[in-house]
Symmetry: C2
Subunit: 237 residues, 2 copies
């Protein structure tokens, strides 16, 4: 069966499981109405802080965890079908510095990707700092070594610092007047308030409104997952 | 001799030494003209990234490094009279996690102070996160254990996350129309651009224009010491 079909089915099952908790009627398809909260109408989206993590290809997963192993769900993430797995790896930089354990996020992907903060990169002693990239864009990226319980791999590319981005469902994008790949700014009233620019909008059926910040942005502002950010329509003030 | 008099003399000597490099005439008092660059006229100030560091009281320095020891200068800082010393300590949190070696900044002060980033605090497993404070303000702060080559101390208070602040000479503040303790915003075009709010202005004769950001702010934006920030007159947009 095509891998994308499998991923789609897994996503749908997890979506139903997540939404069925304590609500039998939610086994019916979710109406868009549930996605359009008062916060969304006012342009406010919850923050999701992304600590360093890895995505694995099927091939690399088999090497790191064994040919017969499977990713197991630790907890579902807000984006439908995505989850923090129970599996973790350690990464080792070209100068021999280690960082880990680092969580593997599921489901498996077509290409292995390692997402680090700039603080992580300095800690690893990376001489060539990973570029800031949207997930999946591995142009001009370097590699690193990943070590799991069953083996290790050294990837030639795929280490990125994730760009600031907001996931949203098409109905939420519509309310906000935004389209996939738009670039906006966000205002955040954390302990140390700021406006962050260069925030990419990403729209998909499985997405739910959530601003993903890495731990450097989150710790600079003193915010946690669930805190709110105000979308500013322009990407420049 | 009064400790403040000593500090003042040390500051003056270091100021002359710093400014006399390759310029014999600068042993004369520096004119304010040298402080008013084109950048300052345009409201631009250089960034100085402050990694975690400690300031020590004379008493605590003697315990950590020995009664007869002295701080020795590794390199002068931009603020006149201040320097990174060759001395370093390790700090140990109440749950037993260590961080170090951490640089001691000179000269000695009346009170010991430990300045950490939020990332540092999480790494140390601090249950009660240190408040964001201007240097010297230890209201509602907690303590930590410092370990040096000659001994250790556990302070009851003095661990802070430093607030965002800009040092400047009175002549620079005058050009910018700012006063001591004003609060401004700064716009920074780093790798990940942002406007940072709640930036405190500090004016003193020994100060030179420099925006001090901790490593969380610096790494969130992808900036380094020497990069420029644009002062926005208002603290709120």
């Amino acid at each position: 069966m095509d891998e994308r079909v499998v991923d789609t089915i897994v996503a749908r099952v997890l979506e139903r499981l997540a939404s069925s908790r304590g609500n039998a009627s939610s086994l019916m398809p979710q109406s868009d109405n549930g996605l359009i909260s008062e916060d969304i109408k006012a342009g406010r989206v919850p923050i999701g802080v992304s600590a360093r993590h890895v995505h694995l290809s099927r091939e690399h997963h088999a090497i790191l965890f064994g040919a017969d192993s499977q990713l197991t769900v630790l907890r579902p993430l807000k984006q439908v079908g995505e989850y923090a797995s129970e599996q973790q790896v350690t990464i080792v930089s070209p100068v021999g510095r280690c960082l880990g354990p680092i969580r593997v996020l599921g489901p498996l992907r077509s290409t292995t990707q390692v997402e680090l903060s700039l603080t992580d990169c300095y800690g690893l002693g990376l001489k060539r700092l990973p570029p800031i990239r949207p997930s999946g864009d591995h142009r001009d990226t370097s590699g690193i070594t990943l070590v799991g319980p069953a083996g290790s791999i050294t990837i030639a590319a795929g280490v990125i610092r994730a760009n600031r981005h907001i996931h949203m469902h098409p109905s939420q994008a519509s309310v906000l007047g935004l389209r996939d790949r738009d670039v906006v700014a966000v205002r955040i009233e954390g302990e140390r308030p700021a406006i962050l620019f260069d925030v990419q909008v990403r729209v998909a059926e499985t997405f739910r409104a959530e601003l993903h910040l890495d731990t450097d942005d989150a710790n600079a502002l003193g915010v946690k997952t669930g805190d709110l950010a105000q979308i500013l329509r322009s990407d420049r003030l």
